[in-house]
């Protein structure tokens, strides 16, 4: 088992980076109801990040003053929003994994309290995303095409979710994903060579840009309180 700090960073960074990504949609979503839902999910994730990072140190110092090599989030959550289908694909694949992972964490000594609170939120995120996969997969030719492209884009990053301790979750996750794809009338994307590295700090090029934006004020005015 990894030290508590390392585990807290993984959990916190996953939530933080996905929360940051989803908040980019605010004011720009395809309809008002979606705008509210995505902001709400982002808000849950920022709250989780604050709690998990708090177990590793000062959450603000960790969020705003680390560089890429020290972030421990998976590559999936840092992928750009793309179109709405790509955003849905990312949330669908990640939240279904996160829900299972948090469920198992509910009984842990270190993180049980946070996991018990967060798992309820994430169960909703997974359901919300799954419903959109079905809507877009079943909707029109265009939405189906975009949903397939979104899942294809994100699929390469899913093996990373099951590294190390998380390996036993794979079977249950596969079954959940397949059930939703079945309802949506979509095929499971083809497996390709996994892209890994996020848990070791080797990220995609996208993370640096995300951090540049997120950390701007803290970097520009060192030592100020906000």
């Amino acid at each position: 088992m990894q030290p508590i700090n390392e585990r807290a960073l993984k959990l916190g960074d996953d939530s933080l980076i996905l929360g940051q990504r989803l908040s980019e949609w605010c004011g720009h979503a395809p309809m008002l109801e979606v705008d509210l839902a995505l902001a709400n999910i982002a808000l849950d994730l920022i709250g989780q990040a604050t709690l998990f990072l708090g177990r590793a140190g000062d959450p603000d110092a960790l969020a705003f003053r680390r560089d890429v090599l020290d972030f421990r989030n998976c590559l999936l959550v840092e992928q750009p929003n793309g179109d709405f289908a790509q955003t849905v694909a990312r949330l669908f694949l990640f939240s279904n994994w996160q829900e299972l992972m948090l469920r198992d964490l509910c009984s842990s000594d270190e993180f049980g309290d946070i996991a018990r609170k967060s798992v309820k939120e994430v169960a909703y995120h997974a359901r919300y995303a799954s419903e959109w996969v079905v809507r877009l997969g079943d909707g029109t030719d265009e939405s189906r095409g975009r949903m397939i492209a979104g899942l294809d884009w994100m699929w390469r990053f899913t093996p990373e979710l099951f590294e190390g301790d998380a390996a036993p979750l794979r079977g249950e996750w596969d079954a959940r994903i397949d059930a939703v794809l079945g309802d949506a009338g979509l095929d499971r994307p083809k497996d390709s060579r996994p892209i890994l590295g996020g848990r070791k700090g080797h990220h995609s090029e996208h993370l640096g840009h995300l951090l540049t934006e997120m950390q701007f004020l803290q970097r520009a005015y060192p030592g100020a309180t906000w």
Binding site: E24, H28, P59, A63, D83, E142, S143, Q218
Partner: protein, 327 residues
């Protein structure tokens, strides 16, 4: 957020049944709420649709200047609070569109009117948010102004609008407090933070005073709206109350209100303040605000880019209904 009367169109003076009209006028004068199924004069309906949809559009367009800083909020707490606030604005937009729909219009029609430039929204959102202090200033001044405008609307004569306003006012007062708290943190912070806070006050003060709408002697629809109790106080009355409440807050922050003519008037028990640049106000109403084009472009882009999503949702719902019927 709030928008006030911005369009100078003449009230339609359709021929209404005098008996029904008299009954309606009596109910309004007795402070009864008018409900969606009740008879109402056509001009009352049109005025309300215009005002409520302007208000809804203001909430939605108002998500953009603040949304501009969500991804750059300086701490996790500030990020969460700002996300929650902007989400509240979206929620207000939703209730208000629903309230307007009870008068026989549709959300698609209202959105189309916004995008085509026929419908207006509050002039305040056509100014840019340049620094983090603007998020504080918007909460403090713009939401502060919104509360002043909206508290009387909780007693507006149209029931669904009044009830939406009760909930909205509660949330706006939280927004105002968080804005003031941002300003306080900055005003007590480093020299650079103080500069940011003062600069934000300098830029947002006058546009905030303009939010109450044109002066009473040039507010064409006010008298009728007051009679109908859609409006309960005049623009200038509410503006004065805002100045009187806000100047001491600026003093408490150690910031200077950018108005050389501002001084306490003992006789009237309120502040005298300098002349508002109404030419700027009318230019912004006409769509010539500094970032008006960017705001409309962002709204139209979101709407057009999302068309395929809305179509897919409808197509899926129809297919599902068909499948259920076939089973």
């Amino acid at each position: 957020m709030y928008t006030t009367e911005l369009e100078k169109q003449r009230m339609a003076s359709a021929q209404e049944d005098p008996e029904k009209l008299a009954e309606f006028d009596a109910r309004v004068a007795a402070d009864d709420f008018i409900e969606p199924k009740d008879w109402m004069p056509e001009a009352y309906r049109k005025t309300l649709i215009r005002q409520i949809s302007q208000h809804a559009h203001s909430e939605i367009v108002g998500m953009l200047p603040e949304g501009n800083w969500i991804t750059r909020a300086p701490s996790l707490r500030r990020k969460a609070v700002l996300l929650a606030k902007v989400q509240d604005e979206g929620g207000h937009g939703l209730y208000l569109y629903c309230a307007a729909e009870t008068l026989g219009t549709s959300r698609d029609e209202m959105v189309e009117a916004l995008h085509s430039g026929r419908a207006k929204y509050s002039t305040i959102f056509n100014y840019p948010t340049l620094t983090w202090a603007d998020i504080g200033a918007i909460g403090w001044l713009v939401d502060g102004a919104a509360i002043m405008n909206q508290v009387p609307l909780q007693r507006t004569s149209y029931g669904p609008y009044a009830r939406a306003m009760v909930r909205i006012c509660k949330e706006e007062s939280f927004h105002q407090r968080q804005g003031f708290e941002i300003m306080m943190t900055l005003a007590n912070g480093t020299a650079e933070q103080k500069r940011m806070a003062q600069d934000a006050l300098n830029r947002w003060w006058w546009p905030s005073l303009m939010m109450f709408g044109p002066p009473d002697d040039n507010s064409p629809n006010s008298a009728q709206s007051m009679r109908w109790r859609i409006k309960r106080e005049t623009n200038d009355e509410i503006r004065q109350r805002f100045v009187d409440a806000t100047v001491p807050q600026a003093e408490a922050l150690g910031l200077t209100v950018p108005d050389a003519d501002l001084k306490w008037n003992e006789a009237k028990g309120g502040y005298d303040f300098g002349a508002i640049d109404w030419e700027e106000f009318y230019a912004v109403v006409r769509g010539e605000g500094p970032v008006a084009k960017e705001r409309m472009k962002a709204r139209t882009k979101a709407w057009e880019d999302g068309a395929w999503v809305r179509e897919a949702a409808l197509a899926h719902a129809a297919k599902r209904a068909q499948r259920m019927a076939a089973e």
